[in-house]
């Protein structure tokens, strides 16, 4: 193979690195207007009056819409339904495009100014006077579910969206827990983080009066689904007259999966004013309105027998939904979190209980890892804590409990207590390799010496399994998804043998244009530059379910392989005709069809040309070499890995210095090692961000205290050590590429490894658990409050 498995440089980087990428905000349409949205400064307030008269009089203002103007329109829908334990339907209050009655979080949309220029729209926005009657807000989840708490939606009692459980029989779990030799209990907050894609969200709505067609350009990970939701649920538009384009997208980390109100607003309003409208979020708006991630309040207990074998796991979580249900919000703390709680361990009894809560805060939805980082944090913190408590080695404790190796072919997949069947796994080698890389035995000696010298060194582990490649449509349908989760691919061989590939997967930084081209070029035996990838335009791509859940290669790539196979099959017919041989005597390899055992062959280009110039052609065969396919996976894929962090804590300040980070991941077969390493690096950085730096802070009135880059700490290169990465390869048994997915692994494994390392360093103080982010003040204060003499 010429390309698969090689670190081919990313073809898309030429345009990105030379500033020639084309993002939504770069698009200028003739006659385009500019929108600015006026947002509530209060988390919970009645809107008494919106006075737009002064702003309307400003020259250059085209139109102002307020919540009242869109009151009759539907709001944006939720794409996943999770019902109450007792069977009651999930509470799904409307999420209007703008609010007319009351605001439910800081940043809720109240009015939209449309003007000839952005500057005029900004000036006009300053002239709109909104009278608010501020009310008490429900911010903290524990308080929000108490009787008498302020209600986010009047018809949602106690702000509870739904409750849900999964796993073994609860009574059996309780009994196993009670019978355990040791129980480790942690109560913690998995804090809310803000995605911070470098490109703010942007949307252009364009209603073409001459052709009665709508176009939405939007910075999205998910253009086709946006079109479906927009047409079928929000505006009731005929889908064949609506085109959604996501051009280059500058990151998303989940936050651009969802259908946002602004997308529907610009489309609707462009028909009202018969001109295109562009809206681009300011950075402050991104902080306030991009769906946030995580935000769980959790109590987790893990039981062990005297040998350190896990006996039971019991988890109770409050999951913040924010003020409205974002597109996939309900599935994140449930089917993407509860189902991962077996981890890579043989725990015989597992039970998880989740209550989803509305609060007067920005909506929470999938963020890199979506549910799996929360599950992994919980498990891995429990294990390292248990090891400290039981004075056992945390690596040994894991070895004792790993599920034995299974490849999904000779051995069956592993069925968990929480609804999944893992495809293939071999867990010991990743931990073994990571321990080797970090030099574990030597580290413990170094740590002992350091402690004698008064230095605080710590090591932390995390071994994880996660679920990617979402997903078999029928399975997710049964779990409440209101969409299928297949992928489409269209491979069009041009007459000259050049290949255009249309994929439903959407790249917002992952390098699809390179990885997918590597597969196509290899399978066809043609040069890489003969392949071009198209994605993100609903007019050219048949359908797509978007990019998230590390699904693009496993699902989108597999769909491409199906189309490739169809091309080769048809090409074989044409080649057999040209070579005057039987189809069964022809084999295709390295770009040509050859008569077996002879040197008679015909090349990819000749067959392509023949398909389009069918003068000498098999009878009855259609001309053309152009195939589309849909691929619906048989199962999720289950990557796994082991991450180890080494930290040193400054005793005087509490500042954590991350000295080393080792990651050994198994993401199945690897198409482009450089891109996979890049995904791991980025994910690890983001996971470290949550452990040490990031976290949205709301005050009790619901103000986002740290909603700017001067206040919200993003991890930077100089905060991080050189990452030491390696991998093992356990192919996925059920997709044609044997790939599993690498986009989120780094973010899933790294957070608990860092937190565990900090706790290990602090263990002489008897400190076993601290809230993230592990800021210097938090660590210092804990040391101050400890009675231990260190």
């Amino acid at each position: 193979m010429t390309f698969i498995g090689k670190s081919v440089k990313r073809v898309e980087d030429k345009r990105f690195l030379t500033g020639k990428g084309r993002y939504t905000d770069d698009i200028k349409l003739p006659g385009m207007t500019h929108a600015v949205i006026i947002r509530s400064p209060h988390a919970h307030a009645r809107i008494l009056n919106v006075n737009t008269s002064k702003a309307e009089a400003l020259p250059g203002v085209v139109k102002i819409f307020t919540g009242k103007d869109v009151a009759e329109l539907n709001g944006v829908p939720c794409g996943w339904q999770v019902d109450f334990k007792n069977g009651d339907t999930m509470k799904e209050p409307p999420h209007k495009l703008m609010v007319a009655d009351k605001t439910r979080h800081v940043g809720d949309a109240v009015a939209m100014i449309i003007a000839e220029t952005y500057a005029i729209a900004k000036d006009a926005a300053d002239m709109v006077v909104v009278d608010y009657d501020e009310m008490k807000a429900a911010i903290n989840m524990r308080e929000a579910i108490k009787p008498g708490a302020p209600l986010v939606h009047d018809d949602v009692p106690n702000n509870i969206c739904f409750d849900w459980e999964l796993g073994s029989d609860k009574a059996e779990v309780d009994a196993a827990m009670a019978a355990s030799h040791h129980v480790t209990t942690l109560e913690f907050i998995n804090q809310r983080v803000i995605p911070n894609a470098i490109e703010p969200r942007s949307a252009i709505g364009h209603y073409d009066t001459a052709n009665d067609r709508y176009t939405l350009y939007t910075s999205s990970q998910n253009p086709h689904l946006i079109r479906l939701l927009l047409c079928a649920f929000v505006l009731g538009l005929p889908e064949h007259r609506v085109r959604v384009v996501s051009p280059d997208v500058g990151g998303g980390f989940g936050s651009k999966i969802f259908h946002y109100t602004e997308e529907a607003l610009v489309v609707w309003a462009s028909n009202q004013i018969k001109r295109p409208i562009k809206w681009t979020a300011e950075r402050r708006e991104s902080f306030m309105t991009d769906a946030h991630g995580r935000d769980h309040v959790t109590k987790a207990e893990m039981g062990f027998d005297a040998d350190g074998k896990m006996t039971a796991l019991r988890v109770k979580t409050l999951a913040n939904m924010g003020a409205y249900l974002s597109t996939f919000a309900p599935c994140v703390p449930t089917w993407l979190h509860g189902t991962l709680l077996q981890g890579l361990y043989t725990t015989p009894k597992v039970h998880v209980d989740v209550t989803a809560v509305f609060t007067h805060t920005t909506a929470v939805d999938a963020y890199r890892g979506a549910g799996r980082p929360e599950a992994t944090y919980l498990l891995e913190r429990l294990i390292d804590t248990a090891a400290l408590e039981m004075k056992m080695d945390p690596a040994e404790l894991r070895y004792k409990n790993f599920i034995p190796a299974f490849d999904g072919v000779k051995q069956e997949g592993y069925t968990t207590q929480v609804a999944l069947q893992y495809d293939s796994g071999n867990y010991e080698p990743v931990l073994k390799r990571a321990l080797e890389m970090v030099g574990y035995a030597d580290f413990r000696k170094e740590q002992e010496q350091a402690r004698k010298d008064g230095r605080l060194l710590g090591i932390g582990f995390s071994t994880y399994v996660e679920a990617c490649g979402i997903a078999p449509s029928a399975v997710v349908g049964a779990l409440g998804a209101r969409a299928g989760l297949f992928e489409s691919a269209h491979v069009r061989v041009q007459p000259t043998g050049k290949v255009s590939v249309y994929t439903g997967a959407h790249s917002h930084g992952q390098g699809h244009e390179t990885t997918f081209a590597q597969i196509v070029a290899d399978k066809f035996g043609i040069p890489l530059e003969d392949v071009i990838l198209e994605h993100g335009d609903s007019d050219s791509v048949a359908f797509g379910m978007g990019t998230y859940g590390s699904r693009s290669l496993a699902v989108g790539g597999s769909a491409i392989v199906k189309s490739i196979e169809k091309v080769i099959e048809k090409g074989t017919k044409i080649a057999a005709h040209l070579l005057e041989a039987a189809e069964t005597d022809i084999e295709f390899a390295e770009g040509k069809w050859t008569v077996k055992g002879s040197d008679k062959s015909v090349g990819f280009g000749d067959v392509s040309l023949t398909a389009y110039v069918p003068h000498n052609y098999p009878e009855g065969l259609e001309p053309g070499l152009d195939f589309s396919s849909f691929y619906d996976p048989a199962n999720f894929t289950y990557p796994f890995g082991a991450h180890i962090a080494v930290v040193e804590i400054d005793k005087e300040t509490g500042k954590v210095d991350l000295k080393r980070f080792v990651a050994v991941d198994d993401v199945g077969n690897v198409i482009n090692p450089m891109i996979v390493d890049g995904q791991i690096h980025g994910g690890v950085a983001q996971g470290i961000g949550q452990a040490l730096f990031e976290g949205a802070i709301y005050d009790e009135d619901g103000q986002l205290v740290n909603g700017t880059y001067m206040d919200y700490t993003m991890p930077r290169a100089d905060d991080l050590p050189m990452f030491e990465v390696d991998r093992t390869v356990t192919p996925c048994p059920h997709n044609p590429l044997g790939v599993k997915g690498a986009g989120e692994a780094g973010c899933i494994g790294s957070t608990p490894a860092v937190a565990n390392a900090v706790m290990d360093a602090l263990s002489p103080y008897g400190i076993f658990d601290l809230e993230m982010p592990l800021t210097p003040e938090r660590v210092w204060t804990a040391m101050q409050n400890s009675d231990a003499v260190v």
């Binding site: 900004k122 300040t653 802070i697 880059y709 206040d711 700490t713 993003m714 210097p776």
Partner: protein, 278 residues
């Protein structure tokens, strides 16, 4: 993120800039590196009608060795100061502090004059200038006046500058040969401004000057530490003196550092800075 409409002027001399300032009065703002003013304008926290850009006035840039003192012109960029041989030779802490400001872009645009005039309590320059015993030259159409750094900073974003005035020069006396100085900074991790910045200088006779950034609503010289040291630069004396950091001073608090923690960090950083002078 776009400012309100503004008229832009680019004078070529200090005199021309002063005339424009005089002409437009309170409608005008000086633009230097723009790394504090432009963000404020984009957020519409600052909405000047007239901008007078002094960044390109040749007379306002450069660093001059004047024998017994060094002149840093107000338009000198942080980066330029960090790499100045004259500064490194005589005033290590000034070079160190300059190199710790923001990132490369900030250092290549931001000016010392802009930072001092802006008087952000978490900015690095003000404390360093107080420790260095600098004097500021302030010009207006009616002439020049001088003010000591210690008297210039009056509170949160408040200085002795009046309408119509431009800070033009910073005069720093050359310390005696053998003087050591340093700047130690505990950074706010998001902005990289100072949670605590400690500028410390000790001459060969162990006369010590210590000043803090980030700790209080304005930079201050910590005479408590200086007096406690009383010329004794042994480790135990430094430890005891550092423990007096910010005594009697009201200390800021935010989500990065509570008052208690900031006080503690001031002590640790005073100790670390002073130990580097031994």
């Amino acid at each position: 993120m776009i400012p309100t409409q503004v008229e832009y002027h680019r004078p070529k001399t200090i005199a021309e800039a002063l005339e424009l300032l005089q002409k437009f009065g309170e409608d005008a703002k000086i633009l230097a590196g723009g790394h504090s003013l432009i963000p404020a304008m984009k957020l519409r926290l600052s909405t000047p009608a007239q901008l007078i850009d002094i960044a390109n006035i040749p007379d306002l840039t450069g660093i001059d060795d004047e024998g017994d003192h060094i002149v840093i012109w107000a338009g000198a960029k942080h980066g330029e100061i960090a790499s100045s041989y004259t500064i490194k030779e005589h005033l290590n802490m000034v070079a160190e502090a300059a190199g710790m400001i923001g990132d490369v872009q900030v250092r290549n645009f931001g000016t010392i004059g802009g930072s001092l005039a802006h008087a952000d309590p978490a900015a690095d320059w003000p404390a360093v200038m107080i420790a260095a015993d600098a004097t500021f030259v302030i010009a207006s159409t009616s002439g020049e006046r001088k003010v000591a750094a210690a008297d210039f900073f009056q509170g949160l974003f408040m200085t002795d500058l009046n309408e119509g005035e431009i800070l033009t020069q910073i005069h720093i006396p050359k310390p005696p040969a053998g003087t050591k100085s340093t700047y130690e900074k505990f950074v706010q991790p998001a902005s990289r401004f100072a949670i605590v910045g400690c500028a410390a200088m000790s001459d060969p006779d162990c006369n010590v000057r210590v000043a803090f950034a980030g700790v209080s609503s304005k930079p201050f010289r910590d005479t408590g530490i200086e007096e406690a040291l009383a010329g004794d630069m042994t480790a135990s004396s430094i430890e005891a003196a550092a423990n007096k950091a910010a005594e009697g001073v009201s200390v800021m608090s935010d989500h990065f550092a509570s008052e208690k923690y900031r006080r503690h960090i001031a002590k640790v950083y005073a100790k670390r800075a002073l130990m580097k002078l031994v």
